[in-house]
Symmetry: C2
Subunit: 190 residues, 2 copies
């Protein structure tokens, strides 16, 4: 698929078919992720590909717990109505985990260490575009507590869970999500 078409057409999916995604396809997504740029080319990511029911249920329960807690804290009604059931149904969830030690020069800076997270986000974006080009729906999911997610993924305190990338065939046509005119968000300093 042409790059600009993929960028423009890719949308978030929350209704997935249970049809499995074969591992050769998942590997293409991971290869795309691995080409993302990173500080000092440190490639500060790790991927945990989840297809088993048990972990998906744990993701669902953690997301639901966070959702209820967030509703209580915020009063946001849309979040009260937002179902995370798709986490149990989606065929593949790729957990993206970042390594704060591989963050480049920002480890020296007072603002904190974020470069490795930005690189992981770029890797996620590559995966989402690749998924669309391969006819798959995708969702960048982050409704979890990082501490709880470390336990579910069985990773140490030294690593940061960045995102759960949900992948599967869309169960129905994806809704168009509009964007603001980017020019309204742009200033030119000539």
């Amino acid at each position: 698929m042409e790059l600009f078409t993929a960028i423009r057409e890719r949308r978030s999916c929350r209704a997935f078919s249970t049809e499995p995604v074969d591992e050769a396809t998942i590997d293409r997504l991971l290869e795309a992720a691995g080409w993302a740029p990173s500080p000092l080319n440190a490639q500060p990511w790790q991927f945990i590909v989840v297809t088993g029911e048990e972990k998906k249920l744990a993701f669902f329960e953690e997301a639901n717990r966070c959702r209820r807690w967030a509703v209580e804290k915020s009063g946001w009604k849309w979040l009260d109505a937002y179902s995370v059931d798709f986490l149990k149904k989606v065929p593949v969830i790729i957990a993206v985990v970042g390594d704060p030690k591989k963050t480049g020069t920002d480890m020296l800076q007072s603002d904190g260490t974020v470069g490795y997270q930005h690189a992981c986000a770029a890797a996620v974006q590559n995966m989402l575009l690749a998924a669309h080009a391969l006819g798959l729906g995708s969702l960048w999911f982050t409704l979890f507590d990082r501490g709880a997610m470390r336990k579910i993924l069985d990773i140490s305190e030294d690593n940061t869970p960045i995102a759960l990338v949900c992948i599967g065939k869309p169960d129905k046509p994806l809704a168009t999500v509009p964007r603001k005119d980017v020019m309204a968000k742009t200033i030119y300093l000539r």
Copy 2:
């Protein structure tokens, strides 16, 4: 350009030709950036397109200051030899600025507000891929202090400078930067 080709072939550029990049081309990069996904589709980015000499010089001076300070703190010899002169020469620098208020549910979480930064990073990745597809070199640059960058860009404390995206024609062929086998960074939980 085909998506996977762009993902695989795009490399960082540090040696730019001074040949200007026309604004229609810059607008295509910005449009690509604007299609990135974001928490609650809040589109938490702003773009400041710099083509004038004065701001570029300010970026250079800030980067050089950070570089010297980082060399002193780290003792990294490669950083001592790393020239940031290209910041004065590159035809276009797009500063990407994030809005922490547009971060979705993670504003409620104890781990801090990072979703808006991840979205900005996805927007940067879209720009880098788009630049490559349009025959341009690009560099994701972050060697600056955020407070100092706010002053240079004349933005308030409420906004976070995320990256300087350098854009221009490469002055020489770009070096291939290898990647580790992504499978060595992947675990399958079936």
